[in-house]
Amino acid sequence: MPATEYQGSFLSRISIRRNQVVSMDGNHEQELEELEIFQKNISERFSDLISDDSSSSSNSASSSEPFLSIAWVRKLLDVFLCCEAEFKAVLIMGRDPSLISKPPLDRLIPELFDRAVKALDICNAVMHGIDSVRQCQKLAEIAAASLEQRPLGEGQARRAKKALAGLLSAMGIDETSGGHKSAERSWSFGRRGGGGGGVSVTKDRGSGQSRASTWGVPKNWSAAKQIQVMSANLVAPRGAEASGLAMPVYIMSIVTVFVMWALIAAIPCQERTGLATHFQVPRQLGWAQSMVWLHEKIGEELKKKEKKGASPVGLLEEIQKMEKLGQSLLEFSDGFQYPVPEEKLDEAAAQVADLTETCRRMEDGLVPLQHQIREVFHRIVRSRTEVLDVLDHAGKSSAPSV
């Protein structure tokens, strides 16, 4: 996992930093320098996410991860984990613990925790979102497998058509309250809490999609709303505060909100309406330039999708590709009539190969991505506990207890 590859580098940086801190304790200039290094690292890490390739906005083959692909999102999470580790080093290591229990941090830290807890819920929702992507992947695999058969007859085409219709409707119904016509009749029982006696036929589940798909968060939870709340009280520190610890807290908050925002944009998630406008990266700050660029880029994509009227599926490159290929192959199977002209068959075969390849990338990437999101989850929990411990000690150091 890339996460572990990074591990070495940032750990060594931390130990260097710690030596610096210890040797020059209490030196304000040293603090400023540290802050500068922190900002520089943030800036560099995020600029790594912009490949030359995507900045020229072409999608040709490149050694680096395609923008918004699974691999790219995993890199984004690595960046988050690195920034987070470094942030904690800046905040805690070698510091006088009482510093973080005094103004302005006594206010900023609880706010940071608030955002952290919301980020945890986002992680859970996104974990679930990946589950629903895997559902789609399975449907795509079924479709691809039937369209790969030769000779290709109506039977296979029909089967593919069903799977693809299910796939597209699953992509649509996952985030709206329904309303999309499902392509297939499916069976279900009475709604939740009914005790489960009665059997009834309902049409509200796209191609046997599990009702359990709203799991991970309660039904009224909104991902977009979380982002809105997380960024609502984000104010850049001014004056003297700007050179103190308030700054890294602010930076880390921006990083957290940005990464969570990007995750929600990329991966299907409950209720994302208005996501494009709910969060802005401050433009005037040097360290945030790459983030500003990425934010714009993702925001454009979101708006493009929203304009199309359809509620946006995740922007994840693989999902987009699956959607596009799915639509095209659905058309193909829908109008399927034996015999099919050779060139049309070849065209479809190429798309099927593409779809199979996309499924393979999902198969390889989604589970590690889930694991990594869980890693982010645990990291956030751990850091919160560590900072709380420091606060606790700071509180108790004045009044020692048994």
Binding site: R158, G194, G216, H371, H378
Partner: protein
């Protein structure tokens, strides 16, 4: 045997034909290009063939029967396309004839598939496509049948597993400071044990008679490489069933944020549900689910029942894990200790089941996450325990209090009693928790048998807590006015501690020696009470006092008697209002007051009866002794001034 030469010769001929055909086929395979002549010979052969056989252009044979077969079996299958209703609802014969038809078509498809060269024949190709088409319809139908069967034969849990739900709703921990009721906690802990007796069983989540139907559908769908479709439907339906079951258990989907912000009562309630539901879900439901998956999918190597099981159970498990994580993230609080211990115990108890259900081969992190959660809950429990200790050390009175049993003593002792019910778990958890200050708990004296109870970590911590409570009470008593009242307060509370310890399991953990010391303390305070209350009054009754005072200032016996009675009335007025709830203690105090004070008074009166004069003796010894009985009854009285003089 006898039925004929004809059969025998027919056989012979067929054998010859088969052998010849094999030669021809082998030759055809070996040779790349056919000359026109050869083609002609073969095509002649083709026309010579009886209608039973058709020779493909490239050579290869297919029974022409297949066309009829496809037609026949196709009808069986397609009939259900127009018919409403479910095949399996129409009985086993219908179902097996349908399955048979599907299997036959599959055979044909397979035969055609294994001879790709046949497909270049237009007729064969068409047959093949038709067979595929029919098969596709059949698969689609079977998927619906599968879902129908899974839903229709789904079984709910036997109610016995549900029976201990009532505990959840009634039983909410209430060991907060506000609670003075003593037995709230004890009544709760019994709820946990009732679950463990019958819960190791497996249940049928699907009616057993449906198993074979599901398996037969699985086997034909798998034969058509439709395993993905099968599994998808299977997983979705079973996942819904699990979700529905969780709804019956009233498990709610909560965000981390909600959980962290929950108040104590709501949290206790959710936590109790968690404990209760997790046990049923893991031990009964999921183990049964796992068996069901194995039963259905175990025979097909292509799909791992493990993986299917994880897909069904995964999101429900995350729900449990995340609630636990949210609890463990909270600030450790004494009020949450028992809830977290319940959670810890149930999880620790289920760990073997969890390990076998979610082993690492499945590539799922759920097992690992549960292990991590267990250790986080352990940390949280330790943290909460330390918080409790801090609280015992540092709790200060926030409002005025009386000399009676303080709520804090009540709370702490009930807390200690509840701790004992978690003996094994706490001994394990507290084992490495620093018990600084433990030296203050006495080693049992030589000769006394040291029981394992007395020496276990929990016992050491309990004694430390009791000592800390005593210190706290000593400090607290300083807030009361006057030494006598302070001593009464301490006696009341120490006596309460002694009773709590003696009357409960705590006794074994404290040991007799420790209890004797506590009682010794009680006696010390009793003596101090008498001394600080009566010493100045008793001084008046002492004859030798006269020696120290010059004869001119020597008060008369009469005046000393009056002064003593005045002092007695004063004390009477205040101390009848004090409370000593324990009747034994109250009686003891009355007795020792009588012994020390009334005896002295009697002696004084007896010795100086003449000097005082009968009419000046307002109370004789018996009267005063009766008045002493009014002490500590909690209702302030005064001796009417009318009786004076």
């Amino acid at each position: 045997m006898e039925d004929g030469e004809s059969t025998a010769t027919d056989h012979e001929v067929q054998n010859h034909l088969a052998a010849a055909a094999k030669h021809i086929m082998m030759a055809l395979k070996a040779c790349r290009n056919l000359t026109d002549d050869t083609k002609k010979v073969l095509s002649d052969l083709n026309s010579c063939l009886p209608n039973k056989l058709i020779l493909g252009e490239c050579g290869g044979w297919l029974l022409i029967d297949s066309e009829e077969q496809i037609k026949h079996y196709g009808e069986v299958i397609m009939r259900w396309e127009t018919e409403l209703g479910m095949i399996w609802d129409h009985g086993d014969t219908e179902a097996s004839s349908y399955l048979n038809a599907v299997t036959e078509i599959q055979k044909i498809v397979k035969t055609i598939g294994s001879h790709p060269m046949l497909l270049s024949n237009g007729k064969q190709k068409e047959l093949s496509l038709r067979a595929h088409h029919i098969l596709q319809r059949a698969m689609s139908k079977l998927k619906q049948e599968l879902m129908h069967i899974l839903i229709q034969h789904k079984q709910c849990f036997a109610p016995e597993y549900m029976s201990f739900r009532s505990h959840v709703e009634d039983a909410v921990y209430d060991e907060s400071f506000i609670s003075v009721e003593e037995d709230v906690i004890e009544s709760l802990s019994s709820g946990d044990d009732s679950g463990s007796s019958s819960d190791k069983c497996l249940v049928n989540l699907i009616h057993p008679k449906a198993i074979s139907s599901i398996k037969s559908i699985a086997s034909v769908m798998f034969a058509s490489e439709d395993d993905k479709e099968f599994c998808r439907s299977f997983v979705n339906i079973r996942k819904d069933a699990l979700e529905e079951y969780l709804a019956i258990l009233r498990m709610e989907q909560l965000t981390m944020e909600d959980t962290l912000k929950m108040d104590q009562n709501a949290l206790s309630c959710e936590g109790k549900k968690w404990v209760w539901a997790l046990r049923i879900i893991i031990r009964v439901y999921l183990r049964s689910e796992r068996c069901f998956c194995d039963q259905i999918l175990g025979e097909f190597g292509r799909v791992s029942p493990n993986r299917i099981f994880i897909e069904i159970a995964g999101s429900a498990m995350w729900q449990f894990i995340n609630f636990g994580e949210a609890i463990a993230m909270g600030t450790p609080q004494p009020e949450r200790l028992f809830l977290v211990l319940d959670m810890y115990e149930v999880l620790a108890d289920l760990m073997l089941d969890i390990d076998s259900l979610f082993n690492e081969e499945t590539g799922s992190r759920i097992g690992i996450e549960f292990h991590e959660l267990l250790s986080r809950l352990a940390d949280y429990a330790k943290g909460s325990f330390s918080e409790f200790r801090n609280c015992v050390v540092s709790d200060r009175p926030r409002k005025p209090f009386s000399s009676g049993i303080h709520r804090f003593t009540n709370y702490t002792m009930n807390y200690l009693k509840t701790l004992i019910t978690y003996r094994e778990t706490l001994n394990f958890l507290l084992h490495d928790l620093g018990a600084d200050g433990l030296d203050c708990s006495p080693e049992p004296e030589n000769g006394e048998e040291i029981s394992s109870y007395v020496s276990c970590p929990l016992a050491q911590h309990a004694r430390l807590l009791a000592s800390l409570l005593q210190e706290n009470l000593e400090n607290r008593s300083k807030f009361l006015k006057g030494e006598p009242m302070q001593h009464i307060f301490l006696m009341n509370n120490i006596n309460y501690m002694v009773q709590k310890i003696k009357d409960s399991e705590l006794r074994q953990y404290f040991g007799d020696e420790w209890i004797r010391r506590l009682i010794g303390n009680l006696h010390r305070h009793a003596n101090d009470y008498i001394r600080t209350t009566w010493s100045s009054a008793l001084l008046l009754l002492k004859d030798h006092v006269e020696l120290d005072v010059s004869p001119f200032h020597r008060p008369s016996h009469r005046s000393r008697c009056n002064k003593f009675i005045a002092a007695f009335e004063e004390i009477y007025k205040s101390q009848t209002g004090w409370v000593v709830p324990d009747s034994q203690l109250r009686e003891d105090l009355h007795i020792s007051t009588s012994q020390k004070v009334i005896q002295a008074y009697r002696g004084f009166i007896g010795r100086n009866f003449a000097q005082i004069g009968d009419q000046y003796i307002r109370y004789n010894g018996d009267e005063l002794e009766n008045l002493v009985l009014d002490f500590f009854e909690g209702s302030t009285r005064s001796l009417g001034s009318s009786r004076r003089r």
